[in-house]
Subunit: 346 residues, 2 copies
DNA sequence: GGGACGGCAGACATCGATGTCATACTGCTG
DNA sequence: CAGCAGTATGACATCGATGTCTGCCGTCCC
């Protein structure tokens, strides 16, 4: 349309203020309600009237005010909130991507927020989202406790927990098979003949980490192995600390012959530490990652996109009226051997 | 609080319906307006009254209806929309993360949507966001043309383009120094003595790719090199095609001695193709990526988080009333030598 | 003692849409 | 031609909050 001049003076709509349906109606010479009917394709609008209204709307650049509509229609938006850690962590972004795709199927829109792994911030984000009247809230909780969340669930806004279970089984959850995954990793290394196996884990107070650690330990016990005990390192929370930790482990005497890292960050750190090492220990990492195939890193893989998808599915079922008891979906894991985990002990 | 029984019968609020301020006011025995004042910490509320209102709100589990508030306060939300490609691409998730952090400083909330690299879907997402009355829209456009977007900019909702410039200079934009980056890569390889340099590029119709290709070509011309010409491959759009393309290049006679890939996806493909190769060509990739240091891949790096941050900053300035002409921020690039780009020709 | 003023509270309009109900008009039927 | 069904339209209330305006009371001061 009118390409020559910027839209500036084209219409006398007050600057920066969007036209309302009332203005459209006035321009078309019909009542507010008729304009509404016309634009919503409701029945009983004369064809000529409809055309006039649409033209007027076009001319004014009218855009429906979704906020007003939502208020009238029941004060509930088409938004679904996700509260998680930083999206630069591929685990979270994969989850978000899975959620987003599934929600779109149902005409819902994802709103994301980063809790910075801080429980207090998380709580205020939950509050902000509830004020916005999101239809559901998906949370990868940061802290240990989140009772405060469950209460809301009973008040009408469905909650879905990802990766970490709710304190009481009062909300839907999608979890990774941490126990199975860690056991598989442990057994994989044991089967390769390793005994002195180092475990590098993140904050032990987080449920998934706890589960991976415990399951690893249980597998060692079951195999009658005690030689791993000097090599347990937990509460390693970032890439740099992981790198340092692995370096330190490799200077012990006797040296561990294998390392199991319990999430993608720690695996990255371990890879840095092992880089250029002439005689690296075996390595298995929890979480698959991009280019693991190129580097040749053996991992305990799981489908994080599917995780997001399942969470969105559960939420959508609740939104659609499902009232049954809380459900838990478990995402399975697989060990993918790529070389690093198959190096023999020495 | 009351831990024993689920919240079910605690209050007689109709199931699933959240209490309104009117109900709070009734329970506290004050008028609607007084309740509003009390909960908003407005002056001129007797202390006892305030306490009664807050208690009532607590008891009912009252939560402000943000939709209604937004309608009343000016029909504009605290949301900022981002439309980009799939968040599993680390470039997009880094950008999103930068945006999110910056917005939070200003009390704004990010809403993301994936355009699936499809122009039509993108347009309808823009529409949906505008209906939701977002305060600003940040877009990594998918298609070639996006005139339709600029129009809106003049109507009050600020647009910021990321990575790809608007057709006409009518909106703010944050771009990468594609020309400088590609030239630096080209010169780096030329300086290493390479002449038969392959270029593997994504869809040439996209502006950033176009710029990288052209700049590479210009650098070759400037160096009086023509030997690269048989090795130009464009419109390689996914990882697998990139892998195949590089494999094919390596079977040519004479073989190229170096490869320049123009984005992270293509670099991934190239790395797959080169994996296990006994005598790999030199490789430089546009976009830094996780573990590039471990693999030893030389890249043209840029700060994508900063890119998001800048975009959010520009948007926020517009939201705050800045009315000046469209601005463009350019994100600089650096070549980071890590080995792969320093392999000599042979 | 009267007026000014500040603190507190409520009535009412309002934001921009949609739902309900009433009304005017048309054309058809018996 | 009365009666009635069906279409097209509009007036008005409504969603849940906030802004404006008004009124009441007590206190302070001259």
């Amino acid at each position: 349309m009118s390409a020559s001049r910027p839209a500036e003076g084209s219409f006398d709509a007050a600057a920066g203020r969007r036209p309302t349906l009332t203005q459209v109606a006035a321009l078309a010479g019909v009542s507010l309600k008729t304009a509404s009917r016309a634009l919503n394709d409701e029945p009983n609008v004369a064809e000529a009237t409809g055309r006039r209204v649409r033209e007027a709307a076009d001319r004014l650049g009218y855009r429906l005010n979704g906020i007003a509509r939502e208020l009238r229609r029941g004060a509930t938006s088409a938004l679904v909130g996700l509260i998680s850690g930083d999206l630069t962590n591929p685990f979270y972004s994969a989850v978000a991507s899975g959620i987003e795709r599934e929600l779109r199927q149902h005409g819902l829109q994802l709103v994301t927020a980063n809790n910075d792994e801080d429980a207090e911030l998380e709580q205020s984000l939950v509050d902000a989202f509830l004020q916005r009247r999101v239809r559901a809230l998906l949370v990868v909780p940061s802290g240990e406790h989140h009772d405060y969340l469950a209460i809301e669930g009973n008040r009408g806004v469905p909650f879905v927990f990802l990766d970490r279970p709710p304190d009481e089984a009062t909300a839907d959850a999608v979890l990774i098979d941490n126990v199975g995954g860690a056991r598989a990793a442990a057994e994989h290394l044991l089967a390769g003949g390793h005994r002195r196996i180092a475990l590098v884990a993140d904050l032990a107070r987080m449920a998934p980490q706890r589960a991976r650690i415990d399951s690893f330990v249980a597998a060692m016990k079951a195999a009658g192995n005690e030689e791993w005990e000097p090599y347990l390192r937990t509460d390693v929370h970032d890439v740099r600390r992981a790198e340092e930790t692995v370096r330190e482990l490799l200077e012990l005497e006797p040296r561990p012959t294998a390392v199991f890292t319990t999430n993608n960050r720690l695996t990255t750190g371990a890879l840095r530490a092992l880089r250029g090492h002439t005689d690296p220990p075996a390595l298995v990492g929890f979480d698959d990652f991009d280019l693991a195939d190129v580097i040749g890193t053996t991992v305990v893989a799981h489908d994080s996109v599917a995780m997001g998808r399942e969470a969105a599915r559960l939420a959508h079922e609740r939104i659609s009226g499902f009232r049954g008891p809380a459900r838990t979906v478990t995402i399975s894991t697989t060990v993918i051997p790529r070389g690093s985990g198959e190096r023999p002990p020495r």
